[in-house]
Amino acid sequence: MNVLDIVTKLARRAQKESVPYFDVSDKVLWKIRLQQEEALNFVFFDVFAGVSALAALIMALLSVAAWHYMANPIAEYFAPLQEVPLW
């Protein structure tokens, strides 16, 4: 007998093997709920991070003028006066 015939014979017997039975439904549903909650937390975190980034951007834009002043506080004294039409 060929060695592969033995393997085929083994396979035929193995196919009749009784397989253990697990009731997984409760654990599966629990895992699904857990993952959904995690996903929700991530959404909340993403929204929070987005709002924070937006606030930081607004603050950065507002502070540009202040930054110019801090970098060279006496520049205004030497800058040529703007002509302002009086009437």
Partner: protein
């Protein structure tokens, strides 16, 4: 496809957990049977079965409904089982056949079914992962090359070629392990 499956899938997509529970109860035996081919450890197998149903739930939207739902589930199962083998190989947990003492000149016909499955499982574990997958589905699940191609997402020609090469390699391994002397 079964009407009951279709109704339960639609209900599951609407978020009705009872419907998904019904789907699990309907197919957990078949999926357990498949996952048992990837791990013969009870705890690991149960974990794999759970993973299949969890992943299936989150991919439910992608199920087209063209083939039977159980085929779609077993495709996910095959992918998860294959990934499990990959991780197992990284941890080097496969047990060589030489360590199996129960094979001393036994008659195959007198072998217990689970003993035969254990020997075959260990023998196939010596193969390369892709070869092992094809022969596992072929020998344990009695799948045709067409069915294997559908499950693993390959062409039938590729599966045939892979199966032929895998059998050749398996033969060499079995000869090296003196399987002919151990089993008659």
């Amino acid at each position: 496809m079964k009407d009951a499956d279709l109704l339960d899938i639609k209900a599951s997509l609407r978020g009705e957990t009872e419907a998904y529970e019904r789907l699990i109860n309907r197919y957990e035996k078949q999926i357990t049977r498949l996952m048992w081919r990837f791990s013969r450890d009870h705890a690991t197998c149960e974990e794999l079965v759970q993973d299949v149903f969890v992943q299936a739930y989150f991919s439910l939207k992608t199920y087209s409904g063209r083939g039977p739902f159980v085929h779609w589930l077993s495709r996910i199962g095959t992918r998860i089982g294959y990934r499990f083998w990959k991780e197992q190989a990284r941890r080097e947990q496969s047990v060589p056949l030489a360590k199996y003492d129960g094979t001393g000149a036994l008659q195959i016909d007198s072998l217990d079914e689970s003993e035969a499955a254990e020997i075959l499982h260990r023998l196939l574990a010596r193969l390369e992962r892709a070869d092992r997958l094809v022969l596992t589905l072929m020998y344990f699940e009695d799948y045709s090359t067409k069915e294997i191609a559908e499950r693993i997402g390959a062409t039938r020609g590729m599966v045939k070629m892979r199966a032929m090469r895998a059998r050749r390699r398996l033969k060499k391994i079995a000869e090296r392990e003196n399987l002919l002397e151990k089993l008659k």
